[in-house]
């Protein structure tokens, strides 16, 4: 099997998510990996670079990021290829498996075209560092009329990315404005990424890009800690595939407790400081 992998880079370094795709692709066949430099309009340049290298390729893999999905759609349209997004695994017959409806249903998907474009979720394989990545200049796009005036990398501090983090600590309405500091302290103590419910992002306590749920990011970390989040179905849709879920909420009837492996009915402002003290004492 011939595979083509699109490698996303941040500050010039391939993302862990992209290296996982290379690892997954290497377990399935021969791999060519391509990336695009960040100077210029990456999307059209990536579509062209991948389309130029698609001859004889069976499967084209991209990370399931916003750019990855954007490139995948345009590429599949251009190539007349099959398109499957948010794949979590491939079975022995090469069929893609994905979770839909917020992880409630698992489906297998097939394409009748000779080539398929797929986006793959994080943590689908171990990262591979053993692969040459060809880097194409974004300015080479022959057809794009889009001009990029300015780009900047969003500062995330030292915290891991929300979608690929092993541990996510999320805050909701129940933490209150000042309480987001507790979310950050617990995340930093655990080396975790920060997430939020829509109530918290709508309130402006944290940026929109941190939102977990149906209209935000879907995450499935090893550990998800929900602080002051009631667990509306839209939020559950973005996190219920997490391996272990811990919830702290003052309302014992909050739906989040229905999916939590460990639920604490109590005030975030009381529970979290004590938890921080206990975690620090372990070290």
């Amino acid at each position: 099997m011939q595979l083509l992998v699109y490698v996303e880079r941040v500050n010039g370094e391939p993302t862990t998510h992209s290296l996982e795709l290379i690892g997954l692709a290497q377990s399935m066949g021969d791999v060519v990996a391509v990336s695009v430099d960040a100077e210029g309009w990456v999307i059209d340049a990536a579509v062209e670079a991948l389309a130029d290298r698609a001859a004889g390729v069976d499967l084209i893999m991209l990370p399931s990021t916003l750019d990855g999905a954007d490139i995948a759609g345009r590429l599949a349209y251009t190539l007349g290829a099959g398109l499957i997004t948010d794949v979590v695994s491939f079975d022995a017959e090469g069929r893609a498996h994905k979770l839909i409806f917020g992880g409630a249903v698992e489906v297998t998907t097939d394409s009748s075209a000779p080539v398929s474009v797929v986006t793959v979720r994080p943590s689908s394989a171990s990262p591979s560092f053993d692969c040459d990545v060809e880097i194409v200049a974004a300015s080479t796009s022959a057809t794009s009329r889009i001009v990029v005036e300015k780009t900047s990398t969003l500062e995330r501090g030292a915290r891991p990315d929300l979608e690929s983090a092993r541990i996510v600590v999320s805050g909701g309405r129940g933490v209150g404005d000042s309480g987001f500091e507790l979310v950050e302290q617990l995340a930093d103590q655990l080396g975790a990424a920060i997430g939020a419910s829509r109530a918290a992002t709508d309130a402006g306590w944290i940026e929109h890009s941190y939102q977990v749920g149906q209209t935000g990011k879907s995450v499935s970390p090893d550990l998800y800690i929900a602080l002051g989040i009631s667990g509306a179905i839209q939020h559950l849709a973005g996190m219920q595939t997490s391996q272990t879920i811990v919830a702290v909420n003052s309302d014992a009837t909050a739906p989040i407790f229905g999916v939590a492996d460990y639920g604490i009915v109590g005030d975030v402002a009381v529970v979290v400081p004590a938890l921080l003290t206990a975690l620090k004492a372990r070290h």
Partner: protein, 257 residues
Amino acid sequence: MRVAVLVKQVPDSWAVKRLRGADLRLDREACDRVLNDLDEYAVEQALVWQEQQGAHVTLISMGPSIAEEALRRGLSMGADEAILVSDDALAGADARATARVLAAAVQKVAPDIVLCGVKSTDAGMSVVPGMVAAALGWPGLTHAAAVDVSDGQVRVRRETEHALAELNCALPALVSVIEKINTPRYPNFKGILAAKKKQIDTWSLADIGLSSSDVVSITQVTGGAERPARSSGVQVVDASGDSAAGLVAFLESRKVI
């Protein structure tokens, strides 16, 4: 300026969604249907231009006839007119077929700019905006946190996980908008009354110059199973911060810390 806004009717995001056994398609009959949340931001942006620049706002949707309800919602917010592309051949259309249909409808409407949300809350693939741009051969400026149109140019502040970018290009163009861009208005009584009198045109595939062979789905769902529902585990009540030791022991037992 003519603005077209692509919208979709989706199951209410509070609804529990299931696949139908017979054809592995979403059981749309079983849930309440609404205008996709994320499309309302695109409608709002178009209405801002309607107020500020006298833009004419046309909503375009693809779906069964019942999807008129979602268009009616957009009309009650203030859109001028709406078009529903509806055809039996479109049942179960994949993203590619959907993009082809929407692009053909856009060509017939001939707007200066197309606005849309970044994804639907049901399929959630986030690929249709880029695919429609590809089908039109237009620039696709996706994930806009801010958008501005003047002198035949569109400027966008694009925001993704890792990067901010300031983009511009000449119209016509397609722009997808993120939630951050505005707060969609709630239809008022006057808007709801006015919407009842506004026209919703229904177009068939033939009306937009396509035939059923143009909209064959390449990608099919071949199997599906509901995953076991999660159940709740341990629950403790903590009034004084005494839950910490138990939680730490639990996390250690799960080998997550």
